[in-house]
Amino acid sequence: MTVLLDVDHVSKFFPVGGGPNQLARLKRRLSGGAEKLPKVYAVDNVSLVINKGETVGLVGESGCGKSTLVRALTRLIDVSGGSIKLGGRELALKPARVFARDRDRARIQMVFQDAGDSINPRFTAFDAIADPLRRLRNIRGKTLKERVEVVAGQCGLPSVLLSRFPHQLSGGQRARVGIARAIATEPDLLVLDEPTAALDVSVQAVILQLLQQLKRELGMSYLFVSHDLSLVRLLCDHVMVMYLGKIVESGPARAVFERPWHPYTQALVAAVPRFAGAAAERLRLKGEPRSPIDPDPNVCRFYGRCPIGASDCKSKAPVLRRIGSRHVACHFAEEFVVQRVGPVHGAQANRQI
């Protein structure tokens, strides 16, 4: 498989101002000392690869940095470090403002969370879909009209609806406009940020199947961001689980959900409501996540909420290591491999490493 997007050790930190020591900090700055603001480690050293035609899922709780990561790799914000390569071309060095007019802008497009909020209310459906074509592909006039109608047709949007404003469309139709706008420029990578979160279950399936069909027809790669694990399971080939700015587990979607190895993934999978079934295990996370502001580099980010929480966990932060077909960032991952797969399989899995 050819690599489409190669993200290597990307970080994004946000300095946080204010706080009780503001005066002290000002004094230090005036006296010429180095000013060091505390930073939020929103995305910390994340590497990932998206292959051509692949659907990659990104899951994690709110505040774990998945949106920041997505915004960084769609080049809506600048990164603090690392490299983002799209088809071999380095994008991370270009400031986001410059990239907005870059020729590769059209190759990464995004479907935002709530189509009702992310479409300009004063644009008709036609304008919303035409906007990226005008700006990025420089298409005008009759060609533009034809292209918009073709794209709308691909997304199952009748052309009579194109003259309507977002508030005149139903939720499902708005979602279709959001998707049509994103695929209009024929991107290679489509980033979907919870595309069905605002929809009722009755239309959710239609939109997901539309996305699946578009992917087959147009050969795009998807990065699917969601906290609904049952959807990620249905849609994705590969999944990454993020916790407090770090990827804690990644691997083939089915395997990760069937036998999660990282304790956080286990809690996440256990928390998904299972249909008409008794809760298999009551693995619950206690407490709140650690602060993402200047986290101690020697403590596991999950320490404090983790059911294991051994002494190793607060003296040495686990790195993401390869185990079989997956990557896991936990000191005790092997124990779960053995425990969950059973002794025989576990031994085999260990041998493969």
């Binding site: 139903s170 906290h227 809690a267």
Partner: protein, 335 residues
Amino acid sequence: MTASSVLCVERLSVEFRTRSGRVRALDNVTFSVRKGETIALVGESGSGKSVSAYAIMGILDPAGRVTNGQAMFGEIDLLAASRKQLAAVRGRQISMIFQNPRTALNPIRPVGRQIADVLVRHGRVPAREAPQQAVEMLRAVGISDPARRASGYPFEMSGGMCQRVMIAIALAAKPSLLIADEPTTGLDVTTQAVIMDLIADFATQRGMATIFITHDLALASQRATRIVVMHAGHVVENAPTLDLCTQPRHPYTAELVAATPDSAAKLDDLAAIPGSLPDLRRTDLPPCRYSERCPRKTELCSQSLPLTAVGPEHIVACWNPLPVHAPLKLAIGAS
């Protein structure tokens, strides 16, 4: 009304007057909750789940009006009760948790004070002891360092913690009925599980009945003993959870089950429900408001809606319910 029912809602109808006509939001809604039981109201947005709860609590929008029905809570009909009677019941015997805890809490009052207010007003706790008891309530809902948190404001807390505070407020006066309106929408799945556990634990400890409103059938199936499915202001099916999920009799319920992502093995199995809710302002609404979307429509469907008992405690509002033991897949394939 059976003796063990805490709340018995019968033939509840609600309409809203709007500039573009009357919206008949609820029509003949009937269900009841037994002591200590958890039931779930499930449906798409606009199906009337929240309006039912608001009507019961007497907090409908001024444009809304109860046109028919009763809601018996013990000896009191909540829909006919005076403001004074209602004030004695609400917050004390029935309380409610709202969807978005951040907007439901008072943003400029410390959370401990907000809990203490309820304790003084409804819990008959002397004002002097209330702050201390508020801290105890915060501890009971699992907030760490409750003494410090009690003086904090909602904006200083995460969504999950705000919802815990809401629960503390709702449970402060030890109600016998809790109405939870989408208590975990907008929260992470991990937090959702913890919050739902918390509500369930209190319910078992205190023998409290719970009406749990959600659009997530999977969540409802896990948490409720009985599920009431609503569609466009009608109760279409009311059954014990297992029956409803494995043997749905109303075509809409069957579609809802098939549209639940967890029930599908692969994406192609995931079904969509064709059509959309009818416009409730229409004057020519058919007796069965699902009939225009329904694959099993017959001539009978133009007659007034039946309420057929198809099993013990299993009621379905359909002239042509799905047959028993028909495999679910076939029933959906027919649409």
